[in-house]
């Protein structure tokens, strides 16, 4: 049941702009930063992890609009609920599918974005690991925010306001990934958010 949901969600993501839009946005943000802070390569390399994390965080906000709202509007949630499926299960499947659809392209684009901000190879690998550990939390927050705002007009903008403050721990431990223990704390933050999010999103989806 769960894997049927994940497979369908992935098929839908693969056909929507949610697959490529965030990645292009991510690379573009990385590309404009050197113009904004000037051509000082040392400065740029120092702040590169921060730039890429903020770019990834903002990119994660883009697909929130289309994560849940279409399912609420076209009766898909009704069809799932009338089959007795728990909304928590639906939300968990959506988180996994969204994470795969967001993170895989993001990591593939990371070398390009990394070159644009002049990050070195060691820092790049560390950043890739940190993104891998941190993005589940971003996916979980995105689905919760999408579920909360699914029936609101202009909910996407509101969802951004919900996600950004809650993503702060992920950002802090993600950017500071070279500090001792930071990766563990990042993984812990991800675990907590991924564990709680299906219940929060499920409760939001069940409200009528």
């Amino acid at each position: 049941m769960f894997w049927q949901l994940v497979r369908r969600d992935l098929a839908l993501i693969a056909r929507s702009p949610a697959l490529w839009l965030p990645v292009i946005f991510f690379v573009l943000v990385a590309a404009i930063f050197p113009f904004a802070v000037g051509p000082d390569a040392r400065l740029l390399a120092r702040i590169a992890p921060g730039i890429l994390w903020v770019a990834a965080l903002l990119a994660a906000l883009l697909p929130i609009d289309v994560l849940v709202a279409p399912d609420a509007a076209d009766g898909t949630l009704d069809q799932l609920a009338s089959r007795g499926l728990a909304m928590e299960l639906v939300a968990a499947a959506r988180i996994l599918a969204h994470w795969l659809g967001f993170t895989v392209p993001l990591l593939l684009a990371l070398p390009v974005a990394g070159v644009l901000v002049g990050i070195d190879a060691a820092a790049g690998w560390r950043l890739a690991l940190a993104l891998l550990l941190g993005t589940p939390a971003l996916a979980a927050l995105g689905v919760v925010a999408a579920a909360l705002t699914a029936t609101l007009r202009g909910g996407g903008a509101l969802a951004g306001l919900i996600v950004l403050p809650l993503a702060l721990p992920v950002l802090i431990f993600g950017v500071g990934a070279d500090a001792p223990g930071a990766l563990r704390l990042l993984a812990a933050a991800s675990l907590v958010l991924v564990a709680l999010a299906p219940f929060a999103a499920g409760a939001a989806l069940r409200q009528e």
Binding site: M1, Q4, R8, A11, L12, R15, S16, P70, A73, D74, G75, T76, D78, Q79, A81, S82, R83, G84, L85, E208
Partner: protein, 190 residues
């Protein structure tokens, strides 16, 4: 044979407003129940109660076997082909084997490879009804199932509903006017 669908003294409250209360009915296998009443009288809400999408404010709903629901929104994804979309739901319902016959019965088999965004509203409605047929449920809950259907499609629906009832199935439907159900019970709301 499934159990009869029995609603006992159910009440429904929506947005702080009491739509109906002390509503009871009993539907035997093979029976059909038409919900009638003016707009806003609670026909759709009663169907959503029966589908488990709403909790009744009071009373109990029992029996009816496996129920399947088709509301106003047909829940077809614009980017998927009709076969892929209906295939997913048939997979959830363990009804993949029933799907080709169901699509043929509602005359959508020829549309299988067309992305749902290109379907007309009548074709979408027929696709939704094919999903109901393929679900293999005992009780169909249909909210204005003839909406957008042409005369030929209404005849297909009437045939499908008659076959379902002949096999011991039940149908609860919100209607305006006759939709080709033989000898239904009527329940007036509002």
């Amino acid at each position: 044979m499934p159990e009869p669908l029995v609603a006992t003294e159910i009440a429904c409250r929506r947005g702080g407003r009491l739509l109906f209360e002390a509503l009871s009915f009993r539907l035997e296998p093979g029976g059909a129940l038409c919900l009638e009443g003016p707009n806003g009288s609670g026909k759709s809400s009663l169907l959503r109660l029966l589908a488990g999408l709403l909790e009744p404010a009071g009373g109990t709903i029992a029996g009816g076997g496996v129920r399947t629901y088709l509301g106003h929104d047909v829940a077809l994804k614009p980017g998927l082909t009709l076969a892929a979309d209906l295939g997913f739901w048939a997979g959830l319902d363990r009804g993949r084997a029933r799907l080709p016959a169901a699509m043929a019965a509602m005359n959508v088999a020829a549309l299988a490879d067309i992305p749902c965004r290109h379907l007309s509203s009548g074709q979408r409605r027929r696709a939704g009804l094919a999903r109901v047929l393929a679900a293999g449920a005992d009780c169909w809950l249909l909210d204005e199932p003839t909406q957008g259907l042409d005369t030929a499609s209404m005849a297909l629906l009437a045939t499908a509903m008659a076959a379902h009832r002949a096999a011991g199935g039940m149908i609860v439907t919100a209607v305006h006017g006759d939709i080709g159900l033989a000898d239904p019970q009527h329940l007036r709301l509002g």
